[in-house]
């Protein structure tokens, strides 16, 4: 029996102890009419060897891609040590550290993580993770509504330069509570929120969300935006890419006073692309708001002998204590991904992370140049970008996608569903994992494709088709 250790004799002796005749007798409190006829669609059990063949075959179908897609999920090199340690049974198969004394490994690691994230974001405190970047933004919005006592409007200004899926998730999660997310449109030249076009008199609003870099890869005028929000008594919610923070100004230093809450997607810190998850959402804030923060928080304390130790703290915010009045319903979070991220950050260090960021930035610049050099693609926006850029193509993006993906190259992400007004564009990204040849491969294929598609349009087209 897979994973069940009982022998027939064990079962007999256990039933005798209980005083029943069969295992089935243990279910006699379940009304007979409810007892199921059994499962019908679940296939017969297989051995590990058999499922291994099945999964290898399926994984093979999707493998060996050369990936120029980003749009919220980035391919970075992950040191081998990260997951070899993260999947050690002691991290992997433990649960939430309710028994602090038997969980010092996880707890100390989380405390170290909180320190790293607080420093990276320039904030005072960090929690121990939320589900993902999108849901972290939703929680940040809810938190801002609780935290901003000066505003009563429950109005959040949400630029359209924020990842469209983040905006949707935030909307889906907060709308029940009467919170409105009001869109701010972007500048068609820069692809950013132009501070000059912000309303002089925006009325009462609770918070302004500022993405950096924004969904288009473009850098926002964070200082001006932050100051503007603060001038109107609104909080600033920063949505940032953690890798970029090794290079870019930390939200804690934005404008005169810094952002109030910072959140984002932790995936670039050691989580593989993995079809979109598991990743983790991070959140950090000013100390004054810590009691409004959702999620687990670890504190350092001492034991009976005065020895340093770590424990879950501020649990009075959480659902298992506060129930219907909790700051969030979150319980299980993304602990293992935080474990990976902490080990990742320790392995690359501050210089390494800066180099990853710089190298990704430079590779993307390089890719843009190469694509532009083909004459078949050009940058849509004129503002500086971090490691992603919106490119306008001469050929249809879906044609490009079909042709390239047939060769297992993912040329970028098509975003026309969310931004139909931008036309024939694709969001393109090259992280530090891409070599000069990779970039050239992309450019060459693009050049070739355009040639073919031109020649196929030409009158000399053969009649063979």
């Amino acid at each position: 029996m897979p994973f069940i250790p009982h022998t027939e004799e064990d079962v007999k002796s256990m039933l005798a102890t209980i005083g029943v005749n069969s295992i089935d007798d243990l279910f006699d409190e379940i009304p007979a009419e409810l007892r199921s006829e059994g499962l019908t669609k679940v296939p017969k059990g297989v051995s590990e060897m058999e499922i291994s063949r099945i999964m290898h075959a399926r994984a093979e179908q999707d493998s060996r891609a050369l990936c120029f897609a980003g749009a919220g999920a980035y391919e970075h090199h992950i040191p081998a040590a990260v997951w070899e340690i993260t999947t050690r049974g002691e991290f992997y198969s433990a649960y939430t550290p309710y028994q602090a004394e038997a969980s010092q490994g996880t707890l100390q690691l989380l405390y170290e993580y909180q320190t790293m994230m607080a420093s990276l974001t320039g904030m005072d405190v960090s929690n121990a993770s939320l589900y993902d970047g999108a849901s972290a933004l939703a929680e940040a919005v809810l938190m801002a509504v609780r935290a901003n006592r000066k505003s009563k409007s429950k109005r959040i200004l949400m630029p359209r330069t924020v990842h469209p899926n983040y905006r949707k998730v935030a909307h889906n999660i907060v709308k029940g509570q009467g919170i409105t997310l009001e869109e701010l449109d972007f500048d068609m030249q820069g692809g950013h929120i132009n501070p000059d076009s912000l309303p002089k008199d925006p009325g009462d609003f609770t918070a302004l969300v500022i993405p950096q870099p924004n969904y288009f890869g473009v850098l926002e005028d964070i200082d001006a935006l932050t100051n503007w929000a603060h001038e109107h008594n609104a909080l600033v919610i920063a949505v940032v890419n953690p890798t970029s923070l090794a290079l870019l100004k930390a939200p804690g230093s934005w404008g005169n006073e810094g952002a109030d809450i910072t959140c984002g997607e932790g995936q670039p810190l050691g989580a593989p692309l993995s079809s979109g998850g598991p990743y983790f959402g991070f959140m950090a804030c000013r100390e004054q708001f810590v009691r409004q923060m959702p999620g687990r928080i670890i504190g350092r304390t001492v034991d009976l002998d005065g020895k340093e130790g770590f424990a879950l703290t501020l649990q009075a915010r959480e659902q298992h204590i506060r129930r219907s009045k909790a700051t969030s319903n979150i319980c299980t979070n993304q602990g293992l991904l935080v474990t990976a991220a902490t080990i990742y950050m320790a392995l690359v260090g501050p210089d390494g992370l800066a180099k990853v960021a710089q190298s990704s930035h430079a590779n993307t610049q390089n890719l843009i140049s190469k694509l532009e050099a083909t004459g078949n693609a050009s940058r849509l926006f004129n503002r500086p970008v971090f490691h992603e850029s919106l490119m306008k193509f001469e050929i249809q993006t879906d044609e490009l996608m079909n042709a390239m993906s047939a060769q297992r190259i993912l040329p970028g992400v098509i975003i026309s569903d969310d931004y139909p007004e931008l036309g024939n564009v694709m969001l393109v990204c090259a992280t530090e994992t891409k070599s000069e040849e990779d970039l050239q491969t992309y450019a060459d294929l693009l050049a070739e494709m355009t040639k073919n598609s031109e020649s196929s349009k030409s009158p000399s087209k053969s009649s063979m088709a």
Binding site: F3, T17, I23, L26, D28, E29, K41, G45, E48, I51, S52, R58, A65, E75, H77, A81, W83, R88, A94, Y95, P97, Y98, Q99, E101, G105, Q108, Y111, T115, M116, A118, D132, G133, L142, N165, V169, G176, L245, A246, L247, K249, A250, S275, F280, I298, T301, T313, Q315, H320, I330, C331, T332, N333, T339, A346, V348, G352, A362, Q365, P384, N402
Partner: protein, 488 residues
Amino acid sequence: MLIFEQSRTGRVNTAQQPTTVDSRSNIPNEFLRTDKPLLPEVSEMQAVRHYTRLSTKNFSIDTHFYPLGSCTMKYNPRGCNTLSMLPGFLNRHPDSPANMSQGFLSCMYDLQEILKDVTGMKEVSLSPMAGAQGEFAGVAMIRAYHDAQNGGKGDPARTEILVPDAAHGTNPATATMCNFKVREIPTNKDGDVDIEALKAAVGPHTAGIMLTNPSTLGVFERKIKEIADIVHKAGGLLYYDGANLNAILGKVKPGDMGFDVIHMNLHKTFSTPHGGGGPGAGPVGVSSRLIPFLPVPMVTKVDNEYQLVTQKNIPTSIGRLSAFMGNAGVLLRAYIYARLLGKEGMHRVAEYATLNANYMMKKLEKAGFQLAFANRKATHEFIVTLKKQAKELNVSAMDFAKRLLDYGYHAPTTYFPLLVPECFLIEPTETETQDELDGFIDAMIAIQKEAETDADKVKGAPYTLPVRRLDDVKAAKELDLTWNFKKK
């Protein structure tokens, strides 16, 4: 020692950095960071040694019996991990087109089908990222359902969600997030919902009820059909908190009990690893009337091609709850586990989980421990109350819990559900041996003896762990949440 205390300025781990970094940058200075973030500057070996050693300070399923009630800490098959981490799966970008995704999508489709079968629900969406997010999806669907009534005009009177007092904290917290008022329903002395109280509570204001069955009291809610009728008749819907599905896998289907919506905790019943706190996965299943509201994305099969279903395809959906499609890697692990178990294996999960729980319950009772519901069968878990010990010996459930650690056992869930005083919610799971259960019982008996003869010993526990009992009050009062940074 913290990793930061092992750091030295200027130490770089070159093997983990791009070797040649093109320094071209078109980022103006105003955007740039000037300080160096406080990340450790350690060698690869220092990091490996530090985190390897830290790991050994944890209890875990792989090292200890971990009977944490309501959490289903059963063996996480290593094969599920290895196979879900094949490069083809790890390197797939979430925005990959269908022609680069058939392997992954086929697994997701098959998992949906398996979960439908297991729950008896009509349709399943996999995307919620934990139980609590599954609850959110479920309650949001209940709201969407009521809003769609009366030809789309809605049923705005339905502002209340009923929650039994034994419910998990996420249930009321979720109802609040969806802007419902929470009304608690009391439990009777046998652990069943108080039917009269329920009848009194329902009405046109009732949006629905959130129930766990078996309940968090470790007993099966016998009047479930009656409860379903009462709530349905009042116009409310039934939400099933599937955290305890392990107890009934293959035995009873929530769909047959009359539930309209259910979330499953794959990190419990489907044994995906708990990861020191997560990730989990909380797929939702629904009866026919809620299908239009399921969260996206889902996976469908058209002409033998697997495709994502998005809001474009289901405009009435409550929408997406994650940036992509939830905790995909967790879903893969659950799929592999389900295939390893297969049909027969699933039945056996409930059977042996129940056998183990009843065995422990009976042996503890014989040893003199007081059960919370002595005249009930245990499901996959059961409750011991240590109120006598607390009163007579001044040794609390917390003291027992800490002392158990010294005996090499993780403590059961303590002080939950809140309505049982000094409570131990004990869930052995099906993957533990009789020997291991006996060892735990012997430890309980030994601690009881200690409590009777040397209560201070128990109250001073643990003694053999990396730290002794920690000062939680100081932790909360003198907040120290980051190291040596800014303040220090």
